[in-house]
């Protein structure tokens, strides 16, 4: 099952499917209400699973259960066949890329320092970090010579999120989690980034879970769509199947699109 180690080594060998989620459940500590209610899916390398749903459907909660920012009440998350519960949380997260809507770049770090954060924590040699940063900035469409030394407050919203994506990719993780990454951007920038992201998906060959409430974005970027409704997966299938589906939850979404 295991093949060659991934480029930067690490705790997950290359196994397909990269991510497996079984009967995942999360109950709120104070009242036991289930925000995620028995969700199962798997994502392979090169696949992007879009988690679609209205506000409060459990999309962000599900995502945060994957990198253990939240601890599941029941069920299992396996990455490369290994249960995440068996791995120390911070080590786990360093092997998962995480991109959030607000971006969260460190304002007191340069762009290069932001992108190179996880490699720095992993104590990569300095020149290796520098090379990797340059490589990634180019990948996300930012000229390293112009942008590496800039600070977040000098960047536009779109540029910041490009840095955010570069940062998530820095340690070459097998899995990428994205929580409405383009949600805070203006429509034009959003479209631009969506299109570039689609091209990037093909090149990177990573497993991705992409949370959004925007149907069009989901249909554009997903290899598969998972529609969450009140903590359950009402639909799981390809974009074509989604469009053709007659399930009421799907129709509701398509109508509102």
């Amino acid at each position: 099952m295991a093949s060659a180690r991934s480029r930067s080594g690490g705790i997950f060998e290359e196994v397909n499917p990269v991510l497996e989620v079984r009967d995942l459940r999360y109950e709120l500590p104070r009242n036991g209400r289930a925000l995620v209610d028995g969700v199962s899916f798997s994502v392979g390398a090169g696949e992007t699973l879009v988690l679609l749903g209205r506000s409060g459907a459990g999309k962000t909660t599900t995502l945060r259960l994957l990198n253990r920012l939240l601890v599941p009440t029941a069920g299992a998350v396996l990455i490369a066949g290994q249960p995440t519960a068996a791995v120390e949380a911070t080590q786990l997260r360093r092997r998962i890329g995480y991109v959030i809507q607000e971006v969260g770049l460190f304002p007191h770090f340069s762009v290069a320092a932001n992108v190179g954060l996880v490699p720095r924590l992993a104590q990569w040699p300095r020149d290796r970090i520098e090379r990797r940063v340059r490589e990634l900035l180019t990948l996300v469409g930012l000229d390293p010579d112009t942008f590496a030394a800039r600070f977040p407050h000098q960047l536009s919203g779109g540029q910041r999120q490009r840095v955010g994506v570069a940062r998530a990719l820095a340690a070459d993780p097998p899995l990428l989690l994205l929580d409405e990454p383009f949600g805070a951007l203006d429509a034009i920038t959003r479209l631009e980034l969506q299109r570039e992201f689609r091209a990037l998906e093909g090149r990177l060959g990573k497993a991705m879970v992409f949370v959004t409430h925007d149907v069009r974005e989901g249909l554009l970027l997903g290899t598969r769509i998972g529609l969450l409704d009140a903590g359950r997966l009402a639909f799981l299938g390809t974009p074509e199947e989604f469009r053709a589906s007659s399930l009421p939850e799907v129709r509701q979404f398509m109508e509102a699109a």
Binding site: T90, R93, R94, Y98, G104, F106, P107, H108, R167, A168
Partner: protein, 194 residues
Amino acid sequence: MLLVQHIGLVAISTGIAVLIGLPLGVLAARRPGWRGPVLALANVFQTIPSLALFGLLIPVFGIGAWTAITALVVYALLPIVRNTYAGIAGVDPAVREAGRGMGMTEGELLRLVELPLAAGVILAGVRVATVVSVGIATIAAAIGAGGLGVYIFRGVAAVDDTLILAGAIPAALLAILADALLGFAERRLVWRSR
């Protein structure tokens, strides 16, 4: 000389207050349950009039410099604790979320992100604590701790204006100087974190 004594009292007590107050501020920011008690305690200390606090401490610690330093530490705590708490709590939650999500430990978050970003605000607290300490330290002379207050009290007793001013003016200048120096450092730190 008395000026050196005065500076010594302020420096030592502020230093100790930082050593105690900074961790307390961090704790208050990290554990929501601690915030109320920590801030309330520092607040209580602040409300006790200084001469009264000296009076309360003398039976326990005797007269002299260490009693004064204890009291000065108590007064320096509130600005330092409160500003540390405010500085850390004021860090953009998205930054903290991104940091945790990428696999930073709590220690790494504190060291690399929260403290650098809060540095300006924390230093502002230290500045307030220092200036207040310079003032209260003048009263320390009344309990045998030395410092510029000695001139002031002797001058009052002897009805000698020159003597009074010999203590009062340097004390005032010291406060202004400390405020200016720390204010300068604070502005530089705040600018960097923006």
